[in-house]
Symmetry: C2
Subunit: 201 residues, 2 copies
């Protein structure tokens, strides 16, 4: 039935959009018909941007962030503090941290967290590379900026157990109330951590 009323290239495009995360069948249809209605240039620009990303992007062999050139601009930037490594789950976290303006050190991207349920063990992440990197050129501090949830906490513990014997300082960002948030709406775990981590003014 569908093949009759939806032309095959359109059905194909709806299928492909539907494979993207968070895109259901209705959204996929909307996106496909948007492409149909849009200028040819806009559609070609999107298609080319997709292909270009796959062709030109590699992983930095030092920090495993995505980059056009290996080593990446951050790893080869002599202006940055090379005595601190911030460990994150994915490239988007690097963007978020750098946007704060509070951090000027190096990064190390794990590309995931430990998750036994999904079959993701230490070998699937860049943990071995992190330990080797710390051994080869020990930094003053390694910040484990993993998401504050069960998987992130477990991964941080696992990494800390391997780094602490090497004599480096290992830290995690503070957990607490989000700035601009409302104390009465904070969940009890967050509020508990905020209390436990209280600081003198």
């Amino acid at each position: 039935m569908r093949s009759r009323v939806t032309a095959e290239p359109v059905a194909k495009l709806i299928d492909e959009f539907g494979k993207l995360p968070g895109v259901g069948p209705k959204t996929a249809s909307r996106l496909a018909y948007h492409i149909l209605r849009s200028d040819r240039e806009e559609a070609v620009a999107l298609a080319e941007a997709i292909l270009e990303v796959k062709e030109r992007i590699v992983l930095c062999s030092t920090c495993f962030n995505i980059t056009e050139h290996d080593p990446c601009p951050i790893c080869s930037d002599e202006q940055r503090d090379r005595r601190t490594i911030c460990v994150v789950e994915e490239p988007l976290d690097v963007v978020a941290l750098d946007r704060t303006g509070e951090y000027n050190g190096l990064y190390h991207v794990l590309h995931g967290v430990l998750s036994p349920v999904d079959g993701i063990g230490p070998d699937r992440l860049r943990i071995r590379e992190l330990v080797a990197r710390v051994q080869a050129d020990p930094p003053d501090e390694v910040i484990l900026a993993l998401n504050p949830n069960i998987e992130g906490d477990a991964t941080a513990m696992y990494i800390a157990r391997q780094l602490l014997p090497l004599g480096v300082t290992v830290t995690r960002p503070a957990s607490g109330l989000p700035v601009g948030g409302d104390l009465e709406y904070a969940d009890e775990v967050t509020l508990g951590r905020a209390l436990a981590g209280r600081r003198a003014l």
Copy 2:
């Protein structure tokens, strides 16, 4: 700042995804990083599907639905009831109506509705072509299946005024309570229309 931490092809892809309807900056980043992580084949399939839609899809010269071949499969299907034309706003509506299995006639796609605020007058829609089509080969009935909102209603009135003098029956689908809906949650306009359109059992 952004150019430093986000490789240029990735920033470009985020920009392009951000032009899609309903895709904000955060979603655009998510989609871009999904493409980065996904198999090369999946990314290429999406890019090719986008290009193919722009290359192979045309508008049917009779009903203005999107199609690979002109006339479209619906207009050239001799099994369908050629005495009824259902007028819709966009190609997605054709898919939705055909999926009901309740309609086996022909279609006419306007590609929009009258919206003076957005500068969309009758010349921007396929209304002239509809009138010419009805004049050339008068059907028994024209169903104006436009969305039941202000623009849809106004467009239906505008079209009806041009078709009624030609002696065809012009109808609109019933407005009323959605099947499976809850009477107490229906808005007052819908409930009012449902009452006004009540039918004997």
